[in-house]
Symmetry: none
């Protein structure tokens, strides 16, 4: 339908003028696709992902779907099912105007495992981070200063040293707890990543762990032992943030090559205040990642 | 529509009489669900999976979809998209009548994150392991003694302290390197898991890391920086073994909640010989796992 429901934004054919240039990547297992094209003469990226099934909708879903037989063999038969559109929505993100950087980010590329010693961090990674346009973190500052996404805040602790904001990740449509994905963004402005963490940040990390878990239990009735809580290294942006995902959901990005459990991070800092300053860290980098080129120029890959 | 196209089977509301009893399992990442219910008074299982996007359909798809705005921040906006039903079909399998065996097969067992302190290991996990039938490791000993799978050996170092056997994992069909998966089984017989590792095992672990990578490069032309090398805790059997998988393959079981990078393990033992003896470790256990019951009886979950 094209008519908005009472009090809801209207449905519109916003993408009817979208002209596809190329498919940047296509994750068939997850039913997710990244498409480059133009929208009103501007470069744009459209990201679409089919949504999980919702238990609450099943009765209405079965009543109003039609099926076309594909194959029947003994007790097994397969069909193509057509569902009512409002019960089979597709989560869609539009990035417009999109820059070259977006196109590269969404393009599927080969990855290599990179070894980053303490010295590599200081001589390669840190200068790379410091050269980045600070404007790229504007959306994070908008959230922390409540200039954007205010209505999405799930929990907030305003303390400037140990506080954080907890919000749903963009990848989560918030319709079911099964694929719950929230991000805690820290209030301190000077912690770029895992590498900056020392024993002085233990109160911050413990606070996020405890209050994040409590807020998720209260809002979503999901207890701590159903949560996977971790940091990424390298992160996708250099303002410290922590991922809370449903343990039962095989979240992309929770692999051991990129994720670090918050509980391990806290224990490591407790036993060695400079654990993450000294450690050699390993992580995959895509060949189109500028940090990869920087490691390559330094002869480190 | 309810009317079949020319020459095609007709679309019918075959599932309108389906009564849901329970969701057996729900794979939200893959958008796949297994539902138990009744169809004309018979037990039935309905399996539904959303379909990947089809590049050929995109133009028609965009022309005829409507979108409802969820959120707008800077250049990013998210929507719920409603697509024409014939471009957004759902692959559906019906098993009818379904037996008890089908229901068990399709039922997903819930997992919980378990916290295991040093004391928990000594008082719960270790007695649990020691009570296990040693016969359950017979297949491992058969491999190490070359009584089985001799033709599958990819590499062998026979040293009784630092040696190991490298073989393809059963999950890998060895048809393509994309999903390469090998296991290194250590020759020492007294290392049950990560928990038993101390500084004395560093030569063993380094040897496996170096020679395993070299053997994979030689046999499969896959270099070290395309490999993810890790241990599981809890492992699926208590004789130390190390996983080598293709970094580009999103292997089940490589998640941060269960996997420990070999490179991290070596560094942790270098800086603290008893790191894994003292540490609190976290891992998911399925509710039908006997170790989970043992933790539950001890009041630890």
């Amino acid at each position: 339908d094209n008519v908005g429901e009472e009090g809801e934004p209207e449905c519109q054919k916003i993408l009817s003028g979208f002209k596809t240039s190329s498919v940047l990547s296509d994750y068939t297992r997850e039913k997710r696709i990244f498409i480059h094209g133009t929208l009103a003469d501007q470069d744009a990226v459209v990201i679409m992902e089919k949504t999980p099934f919702r238990e609450d909708d099943l009765a209405e879903f079965f009543s109003n779907s039609t099926l076309k037989l594909d194959m029947k063999n003994d007790i097994y038969s397969t069909y193509k099912l057509r569902a009512p559109p409002h019960l089979n929505e597709i989560k869609t993100t539009v990035v417009c105007p999109a820059t070259e950087k977006h196109l590269n980010k969404y393009k599927r590329q080969e990855s290599f495992l990179v070894e980053e010693t303490k010295t590599d961090y200081e001589s390669i990674t840190l200068p790379f981070i410091e050269k980045q346009n600070t404007f790229s973190l504007q959306w994070v500052y908008n959230i922390l200063q409540k200039k954007a996404e205010v209505e999405r805040i799930v929990y907030e602790d305003p303390d400037s040293d140990t506080g954080f904001m907890l919000l749903p990740d963009f990848k989560w449509d918030q319709k079911q707890v099964d694929d719950l994905y929230l991000i805690a963004i820290v209030h301190p402005m000077n912690i770029k990543s895992l590498r900056d963490l020392t024993a002085e940040h233990i109160p911050l990390l413990k606070n996020i762990w405890q209050k994040g878990q409590a807020a998720i239990l209260e809002r979503y009735s999901l207890p701590a032992n159903k949560l996977r809580v971790y940091l990424h290294y390298q992160p996708s942006y250099y303002h410290l943030h922590i991922h809370f995902t449903n343990l039962g959901y095989d979240t992309p990005g929770c692999g051991v090559d990129r994720a670090h459990l918050l509980s391990d991070v806290i224990q490591n800092l407790q036993s060695d205040p400079d654990y993450y300053k000294k450690r050699t860290l390993y992580f995959p980098l895509r060949v189109d990642d500028k940090l990869f080129s920087t490691f390559k120029e330094a002869g480190r890959v």
